[in-house]
């Protein structure tokens, strides 16, 4: 086992860190306050080449591997969790399923522009009645000659109306077919019958865009079927397994950023005649933060390593996502605590970080769903 980074990974971390601090950092507060998605963040990250980190060169990527990818997400999330989410939803949830299940024509047409960042992707699974219970999807796709006709509504879709390419899941079979009753489609923005609905107003990640997608007799060319008919549920689950590694990295980055702010504050805030960092009650909180973040980071890197090596990673990703998201929530909460009343104000970034952290326990499988995945794997072996 090795616990060191390659020279490339070191250069990547430094480059992305400097980029996040200097390019994304200055607008973070404004985007949160005004609650708007700025396409500039996606463009800037794409120009740096972040959209193609894990993909092969022939598909427009940099071929640097999953570990490099999660390190980049972590560094972005340390400064701008919303931008990290924009990145991870695009790469993990939209580009990856095309990489894993697309044919060469689809990779040529959709993966390359997503890996280069020329086109922006989104993943559409969730519906009003289908959250954790994804099999409850009611969006339908019916074959009609050379097309599939989609009808239904998707909600909470990250990258919302800002995306160009959507991976959409819909029912193509009967209830009796169970998990084999679904298929995945690549839908381009501008396809007649495909429109956008309500925009969500959120607690955190206010620099990302989430909205409803509405399909009304939307004709999608049959060649845009991703994988095979009936493979949709499998594609969704495998995509989310990978996505969870990205969310884990995002959570680690948020926690890291919050800890750094807490340390900085604790060293300068004087009470009882000394910096509060010298009070054991505060110092021990910081010690716990450092330990929990490292544990979460190592679980995340292991999951990334497994995926990169072609080893099973579903359980590892669930553990990483669960540990990292709960760490992000606990660390941001304690970071606010260390700041006292100031931490509750918008003068300091930790209140935003706490709001941004919460979502990591909810999306791409709630903490409860991760515990289902993990417990099933140890009980039903």
């Amino acid at each position: 086992m090795e616990f060191s980074y390659s020279s490339d990974q070191e250069i990547l971390r430094q480059s992305v860190r400097d980029f996040a601090e200097n390019v994304l950092g200055p607008g973070v507060v404004d985007r949160d306050e005004k609650e708007y998605y700025d396409p500039f963040t996606f463009k800037a990250m794409a120009d740096l080449g972040l959209m193609g980190i894990p993909f092969e060169e022939k598909w427009g990527g940099a071929e640097m591997g999953m570990l490099a990818y999660v390190m980049a997400i972590e560094e972005i999330a340390r400064i701008d969790p919303s931008a990290a989410d924009t990145l991870s939803a695009h790469v993990s949830l939209a580009a990856f399923p095309v990489r894993m299940f697309g044919n060469d024509e689809q990779k040529e047409k959709y993966l390359i522009p997503m890996a280069t960042g020329e086109k922006h992707g989104a993943f559409a699974l969730t519906e009003p009645g289908a959250g954790s219970d994804a099999l409850g999807m009611t969006t339908k796709a019916e074959r009609n000659g050379s097309h599939y006709v989609l009808n239904g509504r998707k909600i909470f879709i990250t990258n919302g109306a800002a995306a160009d390419i959507y991976i959409v899941f819909a029912r193509t079979g009967s209830k009796e077919e169970g998990s084999k009753a679904f298929s995945a489609f690549i839908v381009e923005k501008g396809t007649p019958g495909f429109t956008f609905g309500k925009y969500e107003r959120k607690m955190g990640l206010r620099g990302t865009q989430n909205c409803d997608l509405i399909f009304e007799d939307c004709h999608v060319p049959a060649e845009n079927l991703l994988g095979e008919v009936g493979q949709g549920f499998k594609i969704a689950m495998q995509t989310l397994d990978g996505g969870r590694i990205g969310i884990a990295a995002q959570a680690v980055g948020i926690a890291q950023g919050a800890m750094e702010k807490a340390i900085e504050y604790a060293k300068t805030r004087v009470q009882f005649g000394k910096p509060i960092a010298k009070l054991q009650a505060i110092a021990f909180k910081l010690a716990d933060m450092a330990m929990e973040i490292d544990a979460a980071r190592l679980l995340t890197y292991r999951a990334a390593y497994n995926k990169n090596q072609g080893l099973p990673y579903s359980i590892e990703a669930a553990m990483a996502k669960l540990k990292a998201s709960e760490t992000a929530m606990a660390v941001t909460n304690q970071a606010v605590q260390i700041h006292g009343g100031y931490g509750y104000t918008r003068e300091y970034p930790v209140e935003r970080m706490m709001r941004d952290a919460k979502i990591t326990e909810l999306y791409e499988g709630t903490s409860e769903i991760q515990r289902v995945v993990i417990s099933n794997s140890i009980i039903n072996r």
Partner: protein
């Protein structure tokens, strides 16, 4: 045209410097390209993008890990690297001798470097290199144009700007305001792996200076707080300024 850029690996400018056994402790300190040299690398890459030059070579004198500084410059877009293996205790003279020997062999039309390193701040090496090679030298430049075998630069001067023109080959050292260095892109990092880097031993040269002692700046003293009504507080403060701080008051 070939440009050679001298880069030095230095401590991260945000690193906390500590002394151990009378020396600067290096453990746990993040090493980066000297930010002033990074500007020189960016300037060279921009010249290549404008087709003014066709090869950008980065050289660094230092320990094996200085290779990371070279790799970063290659990831930004430089074409080739040369690591001159040299004891990091080498002084400005020994470094300049080692760099100049390799520069002479490479015979570039232009040598670029940052005007100062963020660690020792001595601001000597580029000037010494120019002197050793007998090349003209322009310091702290903020712009650079090359035409007809000449290089024209603006540089900072007291209260204004000085424009200087010299013939090539020349040694030019940059001020940070010359440009905004790019971040190494992911593709750049991968391409850097395929770029050639050679390693040579430094030409032997004895240091001309000996460092006697390192010391950290004295810790900042805590301030005083006078909590009284304004009239009393003003009198107490005046007394403190005159009798405790013993400030010299000029009329």
């Amino acid at each position: 045209m070939k440009v050679l850029v001298c880069v030095k690996q230095t401590f991260d400018t945000e690193a906390k410097i500590e002394l151990k056994d009378g020396k600067i402790a290096e453990a746990g300190i993040n090493l980066i390209i000297n930010p002033y040299d990074e500007v020189a690398v960016e300037g060279a890459i921009q010249l290549k993008e404008k087709n003014v030059v066709n090869e950008v070579v980065v050289i660094s004198a230092g320990a094996d890990k200085a290779m990371d500084a070279i790799r970063t410059a290659l990831a930004m877009g430089a074409d080739r690297g040369i690591l001159i293996k040299q004891d990091t205790a080498a002084d400005e003279y020994a470094r300049a001798v080692a760099l100049a020997a390799v520069i002479k062999e490479e015979n570039p039309e232009l040598v670029l470097a940052g005007h100062v390193a963020a660690d020792d701040g001595s601001s000597q090496v580029p000037t010494r290199i120019a002197e050793i090679l007998g090349y003209p030298h322009i310091n702290v430049i903020t712009s650079l144009e090359i035409a007809d075998g000449k290089v024209t630069c603006s540089s900072e001067a007291d209260g204004g700007t000085q424009v200087t023109e010299v013939s090539l080959p020349a040694v030019i050292s940059s001020q940070v305001s010359w440009n905004e260095p790019r971040y190494p892109s992911m593709k750049g990092i991968m391409q850097a792996k395929k770029k050639p880097v050679s390693t040579v031993d430094a030409v032997a040269a004895d240091n001309k200076i000996k460092i006697v002692e390192y010391a950290l700046p004295a810790a900042k003293q805590a301030g005083i707080k006078i909590e009284e009504d304004p009239d009393v507080a003003a009198a107490k403060l005046a007394d403190w300024i005159m009798n405790t701080a013993k400030a010299e008051i000029k009329k």
